[in-house]
Amino acid sequence: MNAPIPPQNPPLLSVIDLKMHFPVRGGVLKKTKGTIYALDGISFTVREGETLGIVGESGCGKTTAGRTILRLYPPTSGSVIFEGKDLARIPKKILRETRRRMQMIFQDPFESLDARQTVYEILEEPFLIHGMGNPTERKEKIHQLLDTVGLQKSAASLFPHEFSGGQRQRIGIARAIALNPRLIVCDEPVSALDVSIQSQILNLLIELQRERGLSYLFISHNLAVVKYMSESIIVMYLGKIVEHAPAELIYQNPVHPYTQALISAIPVPDPTRKRRRALLSGDLPSPRNPPAGCRFHTRCPLVLDQCRREEPLLRCHEGDPDRRVACHRSTEGIKIW
């Protein structure tokens, strides 16, 4: 197949073999009793003006990925190259400055705002932290921001709890774009919102991306939303990337059995489409004790002996540099439903 290669934007963020292991402590002296392998060597690239989606179920490490990239957690190993600098290694001072250009939107729009501050104060905070502008300039900026995210100027004097969830998320977005970032990590930005509000926020995010050339790292458990938002998608399972592909392909032709199962499990709002279900048995194993070999082998319907012993590498699928799959049987073209 010689699909035309689309022109690609230059990379903005490259993550190379990033690992984040959390020690589990216990006892009087808080000795390390174990390790949670939240991220166990992930690599990917986010291109300018594009969205990279990360999907996966709870505990797969997607949230950790977002936070580690922003170095809200100090990574165990690996690199996060942003604007040519390795964020995992730069000194705190430079990091603080760099953070202006990478921001985050959180799942819970109420939790992520300081309830004691007015919207004005919340939005002023980024400028104050970085010592930018005088009061008049800041005021003007804040009003602009409010306008950008579709809120009234009068909202400035109100407190977060006086808003509905969707409006709060708008405030969160306004804060995230206040410093003109280039990258925004969106961590489940709509999953706490009511369905009728979700679309408003998604539209806003798209609009902002278009206007400002933003890149998003879009994290969600909702494959439909991720697919809608992203150019390419990473599917994670237990701290590992199992599949990485352009958004359309992942839906049309998922390769990894986990991806397939995930897609088949998503309930579709169409009662007439009674599909065959690929039901996965069992639960997600604990990231404290990931299975040996392929991490998915405990639930995989296609499991071979090899899968139990040997960990599959994330390799290009069928020579396509944009498609990577970590499965021993990826070349066999088996569909599990």
Binding site: E57, S58, S164, G166, Q167, D194, V195, S196, I197, Q198, S199, Q200, L202, N203, I206, H221, L223, A224, V225, K227, Y228, M229, S230, E231, A247, E248, Y251, A261, L262, I263, S264, A265, I266, P267, V268, P269, D270, P271, T272, R277, L279, L280, S281, G282, D283, L284
Partner: protein
């Protein structure tokens, strides 16, 4: 006996209110519907629309003294639940009507073993069962809800098992007394999709086997599409549309239902194409507009929506909606 009294579960003109700092607010206002034996009725709506309150009203489990049922009738197999004395109520609760909740961890007693919790329910409702019989029945139940290695699970505490397993345990408890009606309030919302799929399958399967009726409450239209036979759409404490599941998804009549269906991105929707939106937000209970409650967000609002509350209009045998635009009109199936 009226038809309502005769039916399996029939709610008529239910009004439930809560005392808050803003005064008494009606979380559920004048809703009526019925559920048939062996069928699944889905109630769908956004947070705060009154769907959970409806469920709690049915088994009279409202928090006191803030919440109370102000009016209406709830007929369950010929008895009006609202007039039952408390001791009779307990015979129905858990025995003929069971309920499962969204967060299985908080619904289970954290310091009691799983086995004991299942056994306890049976002990309450079948006082004549021996300990051994209860133990065996528990194991059997757990097997039935698909818990692998039930013997180990019996001895475990709730926090030691996964969320999916906990929800299965909840279902096992709910099924312990072979209820005629199962009320499931967002039973899969806290679960991962792969687990959700398992639970949904399980519920459908169990319904087939036991013939119980299910009242399935969720905000997820996708889930509704999979499980429900009949669907009620609620908005701001009122029912706005009721239809069979096929009709609803194919021919949504109420602008709100239409908006909902078109605003969610689907796996096959084109990337980053602007989504249809329902503008604005749900009015708060303390600040309900006169007339139609959806008027501030409705794209097809007309003058009378502002002042006159619309009435339920039957569009077909199985389909009715509450909208001025539909008055006098029937949509052919």
């Amino acid at each position: 006996m009226t038809q309502a009294e005769n039916s399996f579960l029939s709610i008529r003109n239910l009004v439930t209110a809560f005392d808050t700092e803003q005064g008494s607010l009606r979380a559920v206002e004048d809703i009526s519907f019925s559920v048939e034996r062996g069928r699944t009725l889905g109630i769908v709506g956004e947070s705060g629309c009154g769907k959970s309150v409806t469920a709690l009203s049915i088994i009279r489990l409202l928090p006191r003294p803030a919440g109370r049922i102000e009016g209406g009738k709830i007929w369950f197999q010929g008895t009006d639940i609202l007039t039952l004395p408390p001791e009779r109520l307990n015979e129905i609760r858990g025995n003929r009507i069971s309920m499962i909740f969204q967060e299985p961890l908080t619904s289970l007693n954290p310091v009691q073993r799983i086995g004991a919790q299942i056994g306890e329910v049976m002990g309450i409702h079948f006082p004549r069962m021996t300990k051994e019989a209860i133990g065996n029945a528990s194991l059997e139940l757990m097997e039935k809800v698909g818990i692998p290695d039930p013997k180990r699970c019996v001895a475990a505490y709730p926090h030691q098992i996964s969320g999916g397993m906990r929800q299965r345990v909840m279902i096992a408890i709910a099924l312990a007394c072979k209820p005629d009606l199962l009320i499931a309030d967002e039973p899969t919302t806290a679960l991962d999709v792969t687990i959700q799929a398992q639970i949904l399958e399980l519920m459908k399967d169990l319904q087939k086997k036991t013939g119980m009726a299910i009242l399935f409450i969720t905000h997820d239209l996708g889930v509704i599409a999979e499980v429900a036979d009949q669907v009620i759409v609620m908005y701001a404490g009122k029912i706005v549309e009721e239809a069979s599941v096929e009709t609803l998804f194919k021919n949504p009549a109420h602008p709100y239902t239409q908006g909902l269906l078109s605003s969610i991105p689907r796996l096959d929707s084109p990337r980053k194409a602007p989504l249809t939106i329902i503008p604005g937000m749900v009015p708060s209970l303390s600040d309900m507009p006169a007339g139609c409650r959806f008027q501030n967000r409705c794209p097809v609002k007309i003058e009378c929506c502002k002042t006159i509350p619309p009435q339920m209009t039957a569009l077909s045998e199985t389909h009715s909606a509450v909208c001025h635009l539909l008055t006098g009109r029937k949509i052919s199936p």
